[in-house]
Structure formats: C-alpha cells, structure tokens
C-alpha cells in the first residue's frame, strides 16, 4: 500500500484514505458553449497515458476531504511530489528518474 503525503494535512497517510480522481491540470473551458465538438470531446475524454511521470489529482476522502495534485511515476508508483490545487506543477526534468 502506498503512502501519500497530503499537502493540506502535511501528513503521510495510507493509500486507503485517498481516492484517485484522474488527470490534473485540465481546466474546464470558461465558456463551454463556444467550444467545437472536437474541443469539447478533447476536454471530456482525451487523456495522456504516459509511461513515467504524470500529474494527477487525488482526494483525501477519508481525511481532510481536499482535492490536491500529485506527480506520480507510473512505472514505479513512486509519488515524486504532491501539491495543492491551484498551484502550478513543479518544474522538473521529465525524463529524470527519482
């Protein structure tokens, strides 16, 4: 079971307390009505599935109830970092292995 650092609680807690809620940094278009079907479809369904580091959202559902972001390595499952919603993803060399 993974240990995840909640950036709000500042506590490393067991994976059981969390729920993965998909890719991070996908903003809802401010005026959806002006988007084309293709653009809207992109927003709804198109997600990257890279081998390596991804930015994703987690919910501390059995803890503080906050949504936050994490950089996780999909090969090793290692959490590189976690950060609060609204904060930009930390800069890091994408190919670097932890």
């Amino acid at each position: 079971m993974l240990l995840i650092l909640c950036p709000y609680c500042q506590s490393r807690r067991a994976e059981l307390e969390f729920r993965n809620v998909g890719a991070a940094h996908i903003s809802r278009p401010s005026d959806p009505q002006t988007t084309t079907d293709a653009q809207w479809g992109e927003f709804l369904y198109q997600r990257d599935n890279p081998k390596g580091r991804i930015a994703e959202r987690w919910l501390h559902i059995h803890g503080c109830g906050r949504y936050f972001n994490a950089i996780r390595d999909t090969i090793s499952d290692v959490f590189v970092t976690t950060y609060k919603s609204g904060e930009p993803p930390p800069a890091m060399p994408s190919e670097a292995k932890p």
């Binding site: 005026d31 009505q33 079907d37 809207w40 109830g65 906050r66 090793s76 499952d77 919603s85 609204g86």
Partner: protein, 965 residues
C-alpha cells in the same frame, strides 16, 4: 528406534513419540519432526501423485520449495487445509493427513492411465485438445465437458465445505529494519541493526525454529545469537512466520502460524496472524534453493535434493535410504554423501558430470570407500513406487552419452547447484542481474522507493562449493526417448515439453511459461525456473540473460483465505447502515434488502401474505388512504453561503435563482458529458441556505462532485456544503389522507392546501420534535416528507405509524415505492438511466433552465450525437394480453423474430404489476420512442415474442390533480 533413524543427533526429541496418521495409517514420529521427516522415518517415500500423469511422487526437498509432497491436513470439517507442503507441516499428537490427487488410493491410482496417453498431454495440451466438438457450440465444450473432468482428475486438494471456525488476527507494525530469514546471515544482520537501541528490528522466519542451515549443525553460536536478540527490547522475533509479499515503499506482508502445530489449540488463540509491516529497510536473508538435475526418471520417489537429504539426516536424524547414489554438478553434494555415510547409509556411487571434480573432495570420497564416476550422468531410473536402480551414462569428450552400468539403490541425492532465493527482491520490483560467472540471477538495483539489502546466499555471493556447473537438462543418449526428464515437478513439465514449445515458435519466456505451464503451479517454479531457462536457452541457442525472466509474484508460498479475510466475515464483512426506524420496521416484520450498505425494508408482509400480496396491499393503501415510508436513506446535503444559489445553478440543469424561500424544486444532475447521474429535491431554507436530497446510492458521489467543483473549478464561489444524510430521519406520508394524518401532529405550520402547497417546505414541529416538512411526492399522491433529527427518528416512527393505522393506511416498503413511482412515470436514476441518457431522453427536458449561460452538462448535451434523432427515449409499455409482466432488461424489437445480429430498439427498464390499473405496466427506453405512441413492438423471449403497445410513461393520474389535492 526405527531403522530409518540414526542413533543420535539432530533436533528431534527422541524421548517424545508423536502418533499421527497418513492416509488413515497410524505412524509414530518424534517431537520436532515435520510430516515429511516423520514419514521418511517410517520408510514412507510415496506421498503423492503428480498433477497431469499421476506418477508416484515422493519428497524432493526439505522446506518451502517442495513441489511434490502436497498433503491435506484434517482437523474437522471446517478445519481442513489442502495443498500443504509436508516439509513444512509440524506433526502433533493425533495429526491426520492425507495424500492428494489420487483415486481410489495412493498405491493404486486409476488416473495413472494418463501416463499412457501422455503424447496427448504435451505442451499446450489444454489449447490443442479442448477446442471442440463444435456441436456443443463455441466455448461450451470447455465448460461442459472438459473442465469438470479435468477438475475432478487433476491436481490439488479440495477446499473444505464447512465454514472455517477459526479466528484470524491482523496487526500493523513499523520498524527501521525487517530481516526476512533467520539463518546465519539474517541473525547477524538483526544483531548488527539492533545494536542501536533506537532501531526497531523485526526478524521473521518461516520455520518453527530459527537458525536455518545452522540447525543441521547445532552450533553454540546459534543459541547465543538467539539469546542476545531475545534480550533486546527493540527486537521482535517471529518464528513460523512467512514473509509472503513485498509491496511498494517497504510494505511487507507476513503470515504467522499460531496454532497449526498444536494438538489442542485454545479457542482463544487465533489460527494465524497477518502482519502488515512498514519497514525502513528490508534485509533479505532468504538463502538459496537447490536446483534438481534434469535426467530421465528424475521424479521417482527416493530421488531427492542432496541438501534436503543432508538436512533430513543431520537435523531430523533420518536415514532416508539403505543404499544411496549421489548425482551432482556441484561440490556441496559431497557433503550430503558424507552425511549419509555418517548416518550409516551405504554409498553406491557419486556420479559427477564434471571431468575433474574437486580433487580434495574426490579423494575424501575415495577414502570413505565411495566410488566417484566423473564425466557421468544418470540416464535413467528404474523402480515404480520407489527408485530401485539408476543407469549410469558416460559423457564422451565429443558430447555423446553412452549408457553403461546399472547401479542398485533406493535413494538418489541430486544437486544441480544452488540458486539464490530472489523472489522477495523481485517482488519489491528490484532489477535482477545475471551473473555469467556463477550462472545465476542475483539482486541488482533497488526499485525506486524501496530500500532492500540482500545478505548471505540470496545475495548471489556464495561459496564456489555451492555453484552448479550445468544449467538445464543433463545430456542423454537419446533426446527423443520416451522417458520423461522432469523440469517442473508440480505441473508435470518435462524437458521435452519446453523444447517442443520452442520448436512450435514460442520464444518469449512469458509465452513458454504459459504454453507449457512451467513455473505456474503453487510452488511458482521454485525448483524449476532456472532449469527451464537453461533448456530454453539451449533450444533457442540464445544465452540465458537474452531470454528474459518471468515475474515472481506474491505470495511466496500459498496463503489461507482466512488470513486475508481476518475479522471481515459474516456480520463484519461490510459495515451495515441502519435507519433510525430500523428496529421499528423490523418489529413490523419488514423484509430488508441491501441498498449499498443500507438495510431498507422491501415490503411488510402480514401473516400468511406472499410478497406480491403484501406489495399490492401496500400500493392500495397509498392510493386509497395513506402510506408511511422510511426515506431516511436518501442522501442529504445542506449548502450554505451567499453564492449557494449560483453554485446550484451551475451544477444542476435546473434554475434556482428564482426559487423562493420555503419552496422546493425537483432537480436533475448531469455530468459534463450531459448524461443524467443523479436527481433529488432542492429546498430553499433561506436566501443563502438550501436543503438538498440525492439518491440513496448517489449521496457520496454527489457530495464529492460538488466538493470538486467548489474546491477546484470555482474556488471563488462562497458556498460550503455539509453532508446531513446521517443527521435526519426522513419519513414520507403519502396518500389522499396524508394531510388528515399529519395535520393533528404538526405545530407551527399552516397545513391547509393553499397555505402549504405541493413543492413547498416548512419548518415547525411534528409530535413536538423540530422538523423540516416537505410537501412533495414520489408516488403521485399528495404527500409529505418529514425530516426530524436522526436521534428523534425512533420516537417519531411509532407516532406516525399509529396515526397512519388509525386512518386505515399502512406502512410500505421500497418495492411498493417502486411500483407507485413507475405508475407515475417517475424515473429511478440507474434503472431508467444507464449513464448514457440525457434529461431529454428520459422525458426531463422540461427541468432544464433555459436562460442559463452554462451549467455542468449543458455543452455536453449539445453534442451532435446527443441531439440526433432516433435516440432512445423513455416510454411506457403495455403488454397486449394485459397480463404478462415483462422481464426487466428484456430487449425490444420491431418484429417478433428479429434476424440474428440485428440491433434491438431498446430495453425494458422497469416492469411491475400495477394494482391501481389492474394490469402490468412497464417503463422502457426505445429508439425514437416518443414518436411511436400506439405502435406495437415485440419483446422476444425464450418462449416466444411478447407483443407490447407503446404508451405514455405516465400511467396514473396524468393530469397530476392528485398531487395538488
């Protein structure tokens, strides 16, 4: 003392005899014996039949890697454990064990005829053989014919049929250092680490006694090391504890056996304990496993691993045979030869593959009078239930093998050298590195997030004496010969099977594994993987490291279901949610159903009443008088803040800006794709305060979705939500007499129809209890939903029940509720919708706030496909015969006999007998349904198609007059 015991030595207690049975026969062993050593002490070598060919099999190894000697240990009907390795079962007084995979008996096994049919059972026999016959239809032959046959004939023990009466405990533990394996290397690592009193150390070992190989010698060092460790408060010693799984970030699962070795376990003691350990560092001291030699007939009882023979002789005082042959490609087997000699076993020969064995060892052997055959192999064995002799083969310098003498023996001790036990390191996802010099895989770099250290033999650094000088099958005179040289004993895979797979084009090790099933048995190929790689390497003419390695998976050895279930069984399997009125509903004879974790009363049968009769009566009560329903399971959210209305406008399809204080609105929730995901009622308590209901199942989901939008999408909105599902008990009073029943109980609310109209909400008191009273209906009758603090629910329930009774009404359950709402055409999210239905599809287009610039789902609903004609739409269906109740989920077509492969028009979503209409009714979704009113369609069923008429989904009171009465 039995002639199969040595005179002295070992770690058994020669004064304490232990009686046990095997296949019903009484034997005696000694305290300290495993079932395997105790059987050998009684001269019993035949302990099982092999998986595929039902060949007689004996004990190969002395520990967890044993592939053959699988037994069932029986205490009672519920305490019967199959597939235990006899080498790990500690005997106790009265132990009853039996062999597996034989019928009618171990000595005489009918399944052995499989051996005659063995050409049919070669590599991939499952895939090649079990394809037909076609008349049974595709895939049916497997399920109907072959699988039951194979399951009966094959393999393994049977699970007990009675419930497991034992208790299984669970503990979490944290430590700086976890040491797995208490052999010499593990003990030293634990001593070093625990010298720092702040370093918490856990040392576990799967055996009853710690010490590993040192137990063969009985050293004073061992006693001292264990005493030192035992005295340190920062050390926890766990014997009989198998580390079976390594997971991410230093998580290790340990299975501790607490009572399996006891003759009369206390009922207070759990049988096993699961330890979930989080370790700063995992020290692996798991040792090495000896590799068998692959030669024809290497599976006869009496053919054993040399190290195991040495362990049985030295640790258990066993003389495993009268006359032994040692076959080897490795120096360590000479140690076994000397141990056997010491135990008084006649040594017929040492057969060494090497031209020039270690000169000192060879000289010692000759001095002890043991003939050493160099550049020699075993090319065959004789004997049926026990090896009787081996045939010697001489390997000529050109590589050709010439069969020479036959050597009589009843024991063969073989060694192909030792292989580091890297299973746990591999489970930690560390990279294994091939060492060309030693010819083994050993631990390389740690996986990210893991900190492991392999010490002792499992590190791959071991003495040259333990190295094998040959990988794969031994050379034979004729590779096409019929005699089987086994690689994987447990799955009956031979060297020839692997070569055949390579010839048939399986070149990836993962494919060969699945095709031949090598390494796929419960032992996961502990003794076979390296030999299989060696044979594949030869067949493909590729070096071993270029072939790759299959993954080692958890668990290292099989683990009981009980240890995973722990306390989560029966009443504790899942949490149970009960409403405040649960006891009251139970007392009335309510029949409960599970809705998520909730217990909900499905119907309330009176004496002698069938379910249908009860539901019909409950429906009549609501339509004709009044019904009482416990709606407390509905999800409830209170939303507060100056922007609460704006937030609701953005998430629901409806408009709330103009919703007056004290008014309610039916609300539909869609996702961004435009599909209905929930519905409920939103009531405005104040300008900045709303009481929202959700579906029972959707409560958590909706709350999380709102939170997501509030936190991440629109953090600027000043609105905050709280789940109040558990804070309120909710009772629905529905029917023409609802007001008459409720009004006398109410204080502070004007109950007249005009003062308290449909879809209004008032706060006051009911039976003296503060209440939020909604006038709303999910039945089509005028009605109320009374919300009181949950703690008062049990008090209000009997008051309401009494009032409803006096008015000639009845309590009703979820089934009547479903019928009543279906008569009215009200949807249930998840029944009429399936995640692909828009509000318009299910007739809720009217709910969409037309003036809103944006809301969740608005853009989604405008997608081309979602506004295209021909979408499935909610309709009602009436069966033409006025009596058949359709099956929910049944397909709907436009002809009674649709062509195979043609698409259905839709399906039945809800179907009931309507007591109010005295006919069956159904809701359905049908392509272009609203344009098909009056059409006749068909519901094809096995007994013939049922003709149906498409009608409006609102069957009862289409004008809605009753709601407003």
């Amino acid at each position: 003392m039995s002639r199969f015991r040595t005179g002295a030595g070992g770690r058994i207690d020669r004064a304490r005899g232990i009686n046990f049975t095997f296949d019903g026969r009484l034997y005696t062993g000694l305290q300290g014996d495993t079932l395997a050593s105790a059987l050998l002490a009684n001269g019993v070598h035949l302990v099982g039949r092999s998986f595929k060919y039902h060949r007689p099999r004996g004990i190969l190894a002395s520990g967890a890697e044993e592939p053959n000697a699988l037994v069932t240990v029986m205490r009672d009907a519920g305490r019967t454990t199959p597939n235990l390795r006899a080498t790990q079962v500690e005997i106790y007084e009265g132990l009853a064990a039996k062999s597996q995979n034989r019928w009618p008996s171990l000595e005489f096994d009918l399944g052995a005829v499989n051996a005659l049919a063995s050409p049919l059972l070669a590599s991939g026999f499952y895939y090649k053989t079990f394809m037909g016959p076609r008349f049974l239809g595709s895939n049916k032959a497997w399920a109907k014919l072959y699988e039951p046959l194979i399951r009966r004939a094959a393999g393994l023990g049977r699970a007990p049929e009675a419930p497991d009466p034992d208790r299984y405990a669970r503990r979490y533990a944290h430590c700086e250092v976890l040491v797995v394996g208490a052999g010499e290397a593990g003990l030293r690592a634990a001593l070093d680490a625990s010298a720092d009193p702040h370093c918490r150390v856990i040392l576990c070992d799967e055996q009853a006694e710690m010490g590993g190989w040192q137990l063969n010698a009985g050293s004073d060092d061992l006693v001292e090391m264990l005493e030192t460790l035992g005295a340190r408060p920062n050390v926890r010693l766990l014997a009989r504890t198998q580390a079976f799984g390594v997971y991410a970030q230093g998580a290790v699962a340990l299975a501790q056996r607490l009572t399996d070795h006891l003759a009369a376990p206390s009922p207070e003691t759990p049988r096993e304990r699961l330890w979930q350990v989080r370790a700063g560092e995992i020290v692996l001291a798991t040792g090495a496993i000896e590799r068998p030699l692959v030669f024809p007939g290497n599976d006869r009882p009496g053919v054993m691993l040399a190290g195991a023979v040495e362990t049985f002789a030295n640790r258990y005082g066993i003389r495993p045979g009268e006359r032994a042959v040692v076959a080897t490609t490795c120096n360590s087997a000479y140690g076994a030869a000397f141990a056997l000699k010491q135990a008084g076993v006649d040594l017929a020969a040492i057969i060494d593959l090497r031209d020039k064995p270690d000169p000192a060892l060879a000289a010692n052997a000759l001095k002890a009078g043991i003939p050493v055959h160099t550049a020699s192999v075993i090319v065959g064995t004789e004997g049926h239930k026990r090896v009787r002799s081996v045939r010697l083969g001489k390997v000529e310098p050109c590589g050709i093998v010439k069969s020479t003498d036959s050597i009589a023996c009843d024991l063969v001790a073989m060694s192909g050298g030792w292989v580091p036990s890297v299973h746990l390191f591999s489970q930690s996802r560390g990279k294994l590195a091939w060492n060309g010099e030693t010819g083994v895989y050993s631990p390389g770099k740690d996986a990210p997030g893991q900190k492991t250290r392999s010490v002792g033999l499992c590190s791959g650094e071991f003495p040259a004496d333990m190295r094998g000088f040959h990988n794969g099958a031994l050379p034979t005179p004729d590779e096409k010969g019929a005699a089987k040289a086994f690689v994987d004993f447990q799955n009956d895979v031979t060297a020839r099977d692997i070569r055949l797979a390579a010839r048939e084009g399986f070149h990836s090790v993962e494919h060969v594994k699945r095709y031949t099933t090598t390494g796929m048995a419960t032992d996961q190929g502990k003794t076979s993987n390296m030999n299989a790689l060696g044979i594949l390497s030869g067949a493909l003419e590729k070096p071993v490291p270029d072939i790759g390695l299959t993954t080692f998976r958890q668990p290292y050895t099989p683990v009981t279901f009980g240890i995973f279930a722990g306390a989560n069984r029966a009443g504790l399997f899942d949490p149970v949610r009960k409403t405040p009125a649960h006891a009251g509903a139970d007392a009335l004879g309510g029949v409960f159903e599970d809705v998520g974790l909730w217990k909900r009363a499905h119907h309330f049968p009176r004496k002698g009443e069938t379910m249908h009769a009860a539901v019909n009566r409950e429906c009549r009560a609501v339509r004709e008088a009044v019904g009482l329903f416990d709606a407390s399971t509905l999800g409830k959210i209170e939303l507060v803040g100056p922007d609460a209305a704006e937030f609701l406008d953005r998430v629901y399809v409806n408009s709330f800006a103009k919703l007056g204080i004290g008014r309610c609105r039916y609300a539909v929730l869609t996702n961004e794709a435009g599909y209905v995901i929930d519905d409920g009622v939103v009531a405005r308590l104040a300008q900045d305060r709303f009481h929202i209901t959700t579906t029972t199942g959707g409560a958590g989901r909706v709350f999380a979705m709102f939170e997501d939008y509030l936190q991440a999408e629109w953090p600027e909105l000043r609105a905050w939500q709280t789940s109040i599902t558990e804070q309120f008990a909710t009772f629905a009073i529905q029917g023409p007499k609802a007001r008459e029943v409720l009004a006398p109980l109410v204080e502070g609310i004007a109950m007249e129809n005009e003062a308290f109209p449909h879809m209004a909400m008032r706060e006051g008191r009911v039976a003296g209890i503060p209440a939020r009273v909604f006038r709303m209906s999910f039945t089509g009758e005028a009605g109320y939903e009374v919300n009181v603090p949950a703690g008062e629910g049990a008090r209000l329930w009997p008051v309401l029940l009494d009032a409803v009774d006096k008015a000639g009404g009845a309590v009703y359950g979820t089934e009547a509720m479903h019928v009543l709402r279906a008569e009215k055409g009200y949807i249930i999210v998840g029944q009429e919708t399936d995640g692909t239905m828009t509000p318009d599809d299910v007739g809720l287009g009217w709910a969409i706030g037309k003036g809103k610039r944006d809301f969740v789902g608005k853009r989604g609903m405008m997608r081309t496909d979602l506004i295209a004609p021909g979408r499935k739409q909610l309709v009602g269906l009436e069966t033409l015969d006025d009596k058949t109740v359709l099956e929910e989920g049944a397909q709907i077509t436009d002809t009674p006999t649709p062509a195979p492969g043609s698409a259905a028009l839709g399906h039945v979503t809800s179907s009931y007998w309507s007591e109010a209409l005295h006919r069956p009714i159904a809701l359905a979704v049908v392509a272009g349904g609203r344009g098909r009113m009056g059409e006749t369609l068909h519901v094809p069923m096995p007994g013939g198609a049922i003709p149906v008429r498409v009608v409006s989904p609102v069957f009862h009171d289409p004008e809605g007059a009753r709601l407003h009465a």
